[in-house]
C-alpha cells in the first residue's frame, strides 16, 4: 500500500513540479513547436521574405533522392553502430564477469570512453586514421591497405562507425555487466553442474536472461546513432566525401545552416522527431513487458 501525505495547501505540489515543467516547456516543447511551424514555411536565404507553404517542404523531401539516400545511409549507420558497440560491450562484459583480480580497474578503464566528448572522440580517431600522419594508417599501409577516408567513401563510413561505436561501448558495457550481476549465481552453477561449458552457459543461460537489457540498449543505441553522433561526424568527415557519411541529423544541420534552406531543414527535424517518438513508444511498450518471466 502507498502511504500518501496530504498537504492542505493547494499550490505546493504545483510549485514542486514547476521547475521540471518549465524546463520541458522551454527546452523541448517550445523548440519543437517552432520547428513544426518552421517546417511549413519557405524562406529565402537572407530571411527577408517568408511564405506559408503547408506541406510542400515534406513533399519535396519525399521526392528528394538525396534525402532518401541519407535515410538509407542512416539506417545502415545506426544498425552498424548499435551492432558493433553492443557486440563489443557484451564481449567485454562477459569477460569482466569472469575476472576476479583487478576487476575494478578493468571496469573503470572500460568506462572512460563514455566521459569523452563526441567531438574529441571524433578528433581522436581522426588522428589515428589520418591519411598522412595516422598511426593506424601506417600499419594498414604495411598490410597493403591504402587508407584515405577523405577520398574513399566506404572507408569514411567505416571510420565514423568505429568512432561512434567506440564511444558507446562503455555505456552498453555498464548495462550489460549490471544485468549479468543480477542473474542469480546458482543458475550459472546449476548449468555448470548440468555440464555446460562457459560458452554454452553464456549462450543458453546468460544471454537469454539479459535479453530485456539487450532490447533496451538496442533502442538506446539506435537513438544514439541517429542523434548524438553529430559531433563525431562533424569532426571526422563533415558528411563527406560527397554525401557518403551524411546521416539525417547531419543533413538537418547542413541544409539548414550551410545551405540556408531553413524550411526544408525544419521539415527534416520534424521527421526525426517522429522517429524518436516512435522509438520511445516501442521501448516503453515492449521493454516493460519483456522484463518479467
Amino acid at each position: 500500500m502507498h502511504k500518501r501525505v496530504h498537504y492542505n495547501t493547494s499550490y505546493l505540489p504545483y510549485l514542486l513540479v514547476a521547475p521540471q515543467i518549465i524546463i520541458t516547456l522551454l527546452f523541448f516543447i517550445w523548440p519543437a513547436v517552432q520547428a513544426l511551424y518552421q517546417s511549413f514555411l519557405l524562406e529565402d536565404a537572407f530571411g527577408l521574405s517568408t511564405e506559408f507553404v503547408w506541406f510542400d517542404n515534406f513533399i519535396d523531401l519525399y521526392h528528394s533522392e538525396q534525402y532518401l539516400g541519407s535515410f538509407a545511409r542512416t539506417a545502415f549507420f545506426s544498425v552498424a553502430v548499435a551492432g558493433l558497440s553492443m557486440g563489443m560491450a557484451l564481449f567485454f562484459a562477459a569477460l569482466a564477469d569472469r575476472v576476479i583480480k583487478g576487476s575494478h580497474t578493468y571496469r573503470t578503464l572500460l568506462i572512460i570512453p563514455y566521459a569523452v566528448a563526441p567531438v574529441l572522440a571524433g578528433t581522436l580517431w581522426l588522428f589515428l586514421f589520418n591519411p598522412t600522419l595516422g598511426i593506424v594508417t601506417y600499419f594498414l599501409d604495411a598490410v597493403g591497405i591504402d587508407w584515405n577516408h577523405k577520398l574513399n567513401s566506404s572507408q569514411a563510413m567505416t571510420l565514423v562507425i568505429i568512432a561512434a561505436a567506440w564511444k558507446q561501448v562503455s555505456y552498453n558495457f555498464l548495462f550489460f555487466i549490471a544485468a549479468m550481476h543480477s542473474i542469480p549465481k546458482s543458475l550459472i552453477e546449476a548449468s555448470a553442474i548440468d555440464g555446460a561449458g562457459p560458452v554454452h552457459r553464456f549462450l543458453t543461460i546468460i544471454f537469454p536472461l539479459i535479453s530485456p537489457t539487450t532490447f533496451f540498449l538496442l533502442v538506446v543505441n539506435i537513438i544514439y546513432a541517429f542523434f548524438d553522433t553529430f559531433g563525431i561526424i562533424h569532426a571526422i568527415t563533415a558528411g563527406g566525401p560527397g554525401n557518403s557519411t551524411e546521416i539525417l541529423v547531419y543533413k538537418v544541420f547542413n541544409d539548414g545552416f550551410v545551405g540556408l534552406d531553413l524550411g526544408g531543414s525544419a521539415a527534416q527535424s520534424v521527421v526525426l522527431m517522429f522517429i524518436v517518438i516512435v522509438l520511445t513508444v516501442v521501448q516503453f511498450k515492449y521493454v516493460e513487458r519483456k522484463v518479467e518471466y
Partner: protein
C-alpha cells in the same frame, strides 16, 4: 551407486580458514545430512563436493577417484539449490532436459527420461509451464526432477526446503527421503534444521566452526552426544545445562546438594545436561528442584514449562504431558531422572559421563 570419502578437507579464503580438516566416509546409497548453525561451513563443504568451491587442502573421492581437480560436470553429481535455480526462461521440460541435451543423448531417450521422472514426481501436467507459473512446492519438485533425470552418482541438496512453508516442508521431507530410498542414490543433504536432520539422515554430521563435532546415526547422536555443542544442538527443545560442583560425596547445584551419582568420578566444576523430555515424575527421585513457572507453552500433545529455580541462572525447560495443570507464577517441583543425566567438562565442553 557410489561411495564418497572426504579426507582432511580444509578450506581457506585468503587468511580465514573456514573448514579445518573434516573426514567423512559415506557408504553407497547412504543419506548423509550435514547439520550445523549458520556459518559452520556446511554449505561450503557441500559446494566443495560439488566442485563449485576449490579445495585448499585434503581430498574428496567419489568411487575411489580423487575428484579435487575435476569440473563439476565430470563428477557425476546433481545438486538441488536452496532457491531451486530453475532456468526462468525455459519450460519445466526444457529445464529437466537441459543437462541431457548436453550429454548428447538422442531425442527420444531424453523425452522418455523426462517423462519417467515427471511421472515419478507427479509433475507431468506442468511440463510445458515456466517455473514462474509454479508454486514453491512444485518448483521444488522440478528442481529435484532436474537432478534425478541425469542419473547422477550423488545427489547434493543445499537447504532445499528452507523456502517452503512449514506444512509443505514436512511433506517434502518425507517425499525426498522416500524417493532417495527408492532410487538408492548416495546423498548429501545440508540443513540448519535439526528436525529435518534427525528425520532424514542415515548418517548425521554435526558441524561446528568448520569441524565435524560428531558423526553418527541420528539416534547415536541423540543418545550419546560427544560434547556440549552437539547435545545442545540436537534435540528440540534444547538440552538444559546446569552448572554443578562435584565433591567426593555430593554434587552441588546452587544451594542444593545431592548424593554424587556413582558414574561421575571427576571432581570440580562440571556442566550437567538434562533433556526437557527426560524429567521424571517419580516423587521419590532424590534429584528434585522447586521453582516458579515463568512461562507455559502449550504444544498440544505436550506442554513446555519454563521454570525458574533460584539455584540456576537459566530457567529449566521441562516437557510434560498435556494433562499437567500449571500456570505462570505457580511453584512447580521437577525431578531429574538420574539415568538420563549427561555431564560435560566445564572447560573443554567435552562429554565425560
Amino acid at each position: 551407486m557410489s561411495t564418497i570419502n572426504i579426507q582432511q578437507l580444509k578450506k581457506s579464503y585468503q587468511n580465514t580458514q573456514v573448514i579445518h580438516g573434516v573426514d567423512i566416509d559415506i557408504n553407497d546409497g547412504e543419506f548423509v545430512v550435514l547439520v550445523g548453525p549458520s556459518g559452520c561451513g556446511k554449505s561450503t563443504l557441500l559446494r566443495m563436493v560439488a566442485g563449485l568451491e576449490s579445495i585448499t587442502e585434503g581430498e574428496i573421492k567419489i568411487d575411489d577417484t580423487v575428484v579435487n581437480d575435476l569440473e563439476p560436470k565430470d563428477r557425476g553429481i546433481a545438486m538441488v539449490f536452496q532457491n531451486y535455480a530453475l532456468y526462468p526462461h525455459m519450460s519445466v521440460y526444457d529445464n529437466m532436459a537441459y543437462g541431457l541435451k548436453l550429454m548428447k543423448l538422442p531425442k527420444d531417450e531424453i523425452e522418455k527420461r523426462v517423462q519417467d521422472v515427471a511421472k515419478l514426481l507427479q509433475i507431468e501436467e506442468y511440463l510445458t509451464r515456466r517455473p514462474s507459473n509454479l508454486s514453491g512446492g512444485q518448483r521444488q519438485r522440478v528442481a529435484m526432477g532436474r537432478a534425478i533425470v541425469r542419473n547422477p552418482k550423488v545427489f547434493l541438496f543445499d537447504e532445499p526446503l528452507s523456502n517452503l512453508d512449514a506444512k509443505l516442508r514436512v511433506q517434502m521431507r518425507m517425499q525426498i527421503k522416500t524417493l532417495q530410498n527408492k532410487l538408492g542414490v548416495t546423498t548429501i543433504y545440508v540443513t540448519h534444521d535439526q528436525v529435518e536432520a534427525m528425520t532424514m539422515a542415515d548418517k548425521l554430521v554435526v558441524l561446528k566452526d568448520g569441524i565435524a563435532a560428531q558423526i553418527g546415526t541420528p539416534m547415536e547422536i541423540y543418545d550419546d552426544p560427544k560434547n556440549q555443542f552437539v547435545a545442545g544442538f540436537i534435540g528440540s527443545p534444547s538440552m538444559n545445562f546446569i552448572s554443578c560442583e562435584v565433591t567426593d560425596e555430593t554434587i552441588t547445584i546452587g544451594e542444593q546438594s545431592f548424593p554424587r551419582p556413582a558414574s561421575v568420578s571427576q571432581r570440580g566444576t562440571l556442566t550437567m545436561g538434562v533433556r526437557p523430555e527426560h524429567f521424571s515424575t517419580d516423587e521419590n527421585n532424590p534429584y528434585s528442584f522447586s521453582g516458579t513457572v515463568q512461562m507455559v507453552e502449550k504444544l498440544g500433545a505436550s506442554i513446555l514449562l519454563y521454570i525458574h529455580c533460584d539455584s540456576m541462572e537459566q530457567p529449566l525447560v521441562v516437557e510434560c504431558e498435556n494433562t499437567v495443570a500449571a500456570n505462570i507464577g505457580d511453584t512447580f517441583k521437577v525431578h531429574i531422572d538420574d539415568k538420563k543425566m549427561y555431564f560435560f567438562d566445564a572447560k573443554t565442553e567435552q562429554r565425560i559421563y
